[in-house]
């Protein structure tokens, strides 16, 4: 699937790119990160976070620096995808018994289908990432609601019930916020650029 030939608002033709399965891009960099890679990733994201804060407060010179980081670190998106996979794996492990490999596999496949459905046709890398977040937060809601339901049948203290309720509320908020962000990006149209690996994805709308 490519976006070749589509022209943006400014008339700029989109650069071709090969689409990859949602959440499971076949990229060598998706291998688990080494300690050094993790530190470098954290440092880059931390710097990006600071710059985003500054830019949102009106510091104009932060924006070119953000562009520079996004251009210089095209693997950030894959790294995030990697994190999503790790998070999902941890949630699935908690939801199924250790030896129940069939259930784990089934869940992984169901989530992959869900990711594709949420991401929609021909998603931009950012949409794909946001779709991954929607699915991961949905899974978290399921996990905490499931734990709460099973704890209710086993019996729990008021403090424990309160803890579970607060966890469920937070998970719901996270999920709604993830859905809102995806809807927002779609509403704004594909005018957002993001660098992926060696390929510049430019979805000018």
């Amino acid at each position: 699937m490519t976006n070749e030939g589509q022209a943006g608002e400014g008339g700029a033709a989109l650069q071709p790119y090969k689409d990859v399965a949602v959440g499971r891009p076949k990229d060598p960099d998706l291998s688990p990160m080494s300690q050094d890679e993790r530190e470098a990733y954290r440092e880059t994201v931390g710097k990006l976070r600071e710059l985003v804060k500054k830019a949102e407060k009106g510091t104009k010179k932060a924006v070119p620096e953000i562009r520079e980081i996004l251009r210089e670190h095209p693997h950030l998106c894959w790294r995030l995808s990697n994190l999503s996979g790790l998070t999902e794996g941890a949630l699935i492990d908690r939801m199924s018994r250790d030896e129940d490999l069939a259930s784990k596999e089934l869940m992984k496949r169901q989530l992959a289908c869900m990711r594709e459905e949420v991401a929609g046709d021909d998603p931009s890398p950012l949409e794909r990432l946001l779709a991954e977040r929607v699915v991961a937060t949905w899974l978290q809601v399921q996990l905490f609601e499931g734990i709460y339901a099973s704890s209710m049948s086993k019996g729990m203290t008021l403090d424990q019930a309160d803890y579970h309720q607060r966890r469920i509320d937070r998970a719901h908020n996270r999920h709604l916020s993830a859905v809102r962000a995806l809807a927002q990006i779609r509403k704004l149209g594909p005018a957002v650029q993001i660098n992926i690996a060696e390929k510049q994805i430019n979805n000018a709308g």
């Binding site: 932060a62 996004l70 908690r94 734990i147 966890r167 005018a191």
Partner: protein
């Protein structure tokens, strides 16, 4: 304070202390075999409660760890999204919707 109280006649008497309306109330259970049995039952109950509390702490730490993992991922995606929007020339209007920045 030991739950075993020495009586005037020399025998040991097992007691339980509990709080009622903020005051400590001592309940006299009995001496001899009855006291011994009550002491064992209480010890067993305490052990069961300690185990349950430890299990709950472990469970809560595990859940917090899972939630923390997802929170970290969500925050990074949020950062990436905002960065991409800012880089594409959008600005956030009053901490709400994103609007395309007008070219000066």
């Amino acid at each position: 304070m030991s739950p075993w109280e020495r009586r005037e006649r020399g025998g040991l008497y097992y007691t339980r202390s509990r709080k009622v309306d903020g005051r400590v109330v001592r309940e006299y259970v009995g001496g001899g075999v009855l006291g011994e049995l009550a002491a064992r039952m209480d010890a067993e109950e305490r052990r069961r409660r300690d185990e349950a509390a430890a299990a709950w702490r472990e469970e809560r730490d595990h859940l917090e760890g899972l939630a923390g993992l997802l929170d970290g991922f969500c925050e990074d995606v949020e950062t990436m999204t905002r960065a991409a929007l800012l880089a594409a020339g959008f600005r956030r209007h009053k901490r709400g919707e994103w609007r395309k920045r007008r070219r000066d």
